[in-house]
């Protein structure tokens, strides 16, 4: 039982990492209906900026705030300068542009900061709590807490604020959104900016755990995709729960299903996703309406 609880905790800690990045994916999808393949690399780049600021002697929270501001500005700029010219083209074209961005950010970070591992200071204490023999790391609890907080903020934003509704309306159907008097082009830019902010938050949160290097997000992003898919791209709550589920499933399957073994846990995670999609195509928490891309 203790073993099970410890694995559950380990799975939840990993899951919280997936969840925080999945939130950024949900955000960009909700506000632009684009899947941004560069999302992880943008988050990584922001995290490097935070690292550089801290390395230059700035206090952690000041560096964090400045990084979020830069990320927002960067996200808006990318939308206005790079995505804008192709926004009327097909989804495939936009996907390819985000792939281009992925290559650029990854290699740029490597060129500037190198590919060697960097440690990143954690805003949370590095200690642990022991609850009847089960070890819980305070850092993981911190990541978990922030992910929940971001989730709550996003849910409120998208459901109850005029700006949030306007962003969703723009993503769903631009023409009628414009008929509502919404400046849709700015909504899209705003969506990119906010997604960059959430991504940067996720990056700064997870960097102390997975360490900082230009490739830190590549594996992560896949599982975040999985989490977002599982929960449904429609709901921030779903993304968090989906991310946690993927993390727990990975830890459990590797340990308890011996004939599969840990080396196939990835494959199994992917298979679960496909199965979930088959029976609930919009994810566990998505709404009924099917979507076209």
């Amino acid at each position: 039982m203790r073993e099970f609880a410890q694995l559950l905790i380990a799975g939840l800690s990993t899951g919280a990492i997936y969840a925080s990045l999945a939130l950024a994916l949900v955000l960009i999808y909700q506000s632009t209906e684009v899947v941004n393949f560069a999302q992880g690399e943008m988050a990584m780049f922001s995290t490097f900026i935070a690292w550089e600021l801290i390395d230059k002697g700035m206090p952690f929270w000041a560096a964090f705030a400045l990084t979020l501001a830069l990320a927002f500005f960067g996200g808006v700029t990318i939308e206005r300068v790079i995505i804008r010219p192709v926004e009327k083209a097909s989804v495939l074209t936009i996907v390819i542009v985000t792939v281009g961005l992925l290559l650029i950010f990854n290699n740029l970070a490597g060129g500037i900061w190198g590919f060697q591992l960097k440690t990143f200071p954690s805003p949370f204490p590095s200690g642990t709590w022991q609850v009847s023999g089960v070890v819980i790391s305070q850092q993981s609890v911190g990541v978990f807490g922030v992910a929940l907080l971001v989730m709550a903020l996003l849910a409120v934003f998208f459901r109850f604020t005029a700006l949030g509704l306007a962003m969703r309306a723009t993503a769903m159907n631009r023409e009628p959104a414009e008929l509502m008097g919404i400046h849709t082009t700015w909504m899209l830019a705003l969506g990119w900016g906010l997604a960059a902010v959430v991504g940067a938050t996720a990056g700064v949160l997870v960097a102390p755990i997975v360490f900082l290097d230009p490739n830190m997000m590549q594996g992560l992003l896949l599982f975040a995709f999985a989490g977002a898919t599982l929960g449904g791209f429609e709901s921030p709550g779903g993304a968090v729960l989906g991310g946690l589920l993927v993390g727990v499933a990975q830890a459990m399957i590797g340990n308890y299903v011996s004939f599969i073994g840990t080396d196939l846990s990835l494959t199994v995670a992917m298979a679960i996703i496909v199965l979930v999609l088959v029976f609930k195509p919009t994810g566990l928490f998505g709404q009924a309406a099917a979507r076209r891309v």
């Binding site: 083209a89 542009v97 490597g110 060129g111 494959t267 999609l277």
Partner: protein
């Protein structure tokens, strides 16, 4: 877009001529290493052609064709390595195996569309190398399988030249096959489903059957491409079929021009040569160059090279017409992007 096939009899003959010239001459003009590159262009061309069938003509978004490519490569690799099969004999089986895998995968994928289908195929692309690693007795695990490079049966040709002609002939045959299928009622069904699934179903087209067929056929092409790559490289290993391969195929398809005749060829040239030229520009960060080129390409030619040429051609044509004929005369309705047409059907799509 589908109309191009119908309207293109004369241009397609011209393209056939160009293709033949491109097939016959390069091996005599270039060294072995260049021929190897050209051979890979042909291999990518076949895979992109396959991807085009399912994505360009049937509207199903796949980010996982590297998986079918890998299946084809490993069928050939395993047959050559373990059973000593001659390389040419493995190709049909490699294609069919990949096709069956694609068909089976398409069954659950039927329920998915757009983004979710893309993610499911992405999952496939990531899973397949893992399974290959695990299945060590057949696949050689991470170390892969070292194969014997085929010799040329014709004395006048080097092994490289022979392999180029061999792959080129396979490609030509597959090109013609695709052309025939896409012009037939099957191809029209593919396109009808892409343009409006509800309308296609109402018209009595069995959606499930044609969607799985398109996926299977597409995977067959990717499998054949993989099979060819296995003996051209004379080595198969999981590292050769990472997610970047799948992504590259999509890039090739889009850059060349989705759903066009010449698109796959242009796209194949692009993905084969871009990395080498990028590192000539910047050794420090070739990825930045690659990314920038990719973004610029999409910026300048959002419908791919083929789409761009077609649009430019049309514009030039209508300019000439406008000068000569009455300004009121309107050109034919030929939207370049399905997406620019008003969305069909109220509401449901959201």
């Amino acid at each position: 877009m589908g109309g191009i096939w119908q309207r293109a009899h004369v241009p397609s003959l011209a393209w056939l001529g160009v293709a033949l010239l491109l097939i016959i001459f390069p091996p005599w003009l270039a060294g072995g290493y260049r021929i190897f590159q050209f051979t890979f262009v042909v291999i990518y061309l076949i895979a992109i052609l396959g991807l085009n069938i399912v994505t360009g003509y049937n509207g199903q978004f796949s980010l996982g064709h590297g998986a079918f490519f890998a299946v084809g490569a490993y069928v050939t690799g395993a047959l050559m390595f373990h059973a000593g099969a001659p390389y040419w004999a493995t190709i049909p089986l490699a294609g069919l195996t990949a096709g069956v895998v694609g068909f089976l995968f398409a069954i659950p994928a039927l329920r998915l569309s757009g983004l979710y289908l893309a993610l499911a195929t992405l999952a496939l692309a990531i899973s397949v190398p893992q399974i290959l690693k695990k299945w060590e007795s057949v696949t050689g695990g991470v170390q892969g399988l070292v194969l014997t490079k085929p010799h040329s049966p014709i004395g006048a040709l080097t092994s490289d030249q022979w392999l180029f002609y061999f792959t080129a002939v396979v490609a030509l045959a597959l090109y013609i096959a695709a052309w025939v299928v896409l012009r037939s009622s099957v191809g029209r069904a593919f396109v009808a489903i892409r343009d409006n699934e509800v309308a296609a179903e109402a018209a009595g087209i069995p959606i499930a059957r044609f969607k799985t067929l398109a996926f299977g056929m597409s995977a067959f092409y990717a499998g054949v491409a993989g099979s060819l790559s296995a003996f051209v490289v004379a080595y198969v290993a999981p590292d050769s079929f990472d997610f970047l391969l799948s992504l590259n195929l999509v890039v090739g398809m889009v850059v060349g021009g989705t759903g066009t005749i010449v698109g796959p060829a242009l796209g194949a040239v692009f993905i084969e040569f871009l990395p080498s030229y990028s590192q000539d520009v910047s050794r420090a960060a070739p990825g930045v160059v690659e990314g920038v080129v990719l973004v610029l390409f999409m910026y300048l030619m959002p419908t791919g090279v083929a789409g761009f040429v077609a649009t430019a051609g049309r514009k030039a044509l209508s300019l000439v017409r406008r000068r000569t004929a009455d300004h009121a005369a309107a050109g034919p309705v030929t939207p370049t992007l399905a997406d620019q047409e008003p969305r069909a059907g109220p509401g449901e799509g959201g």
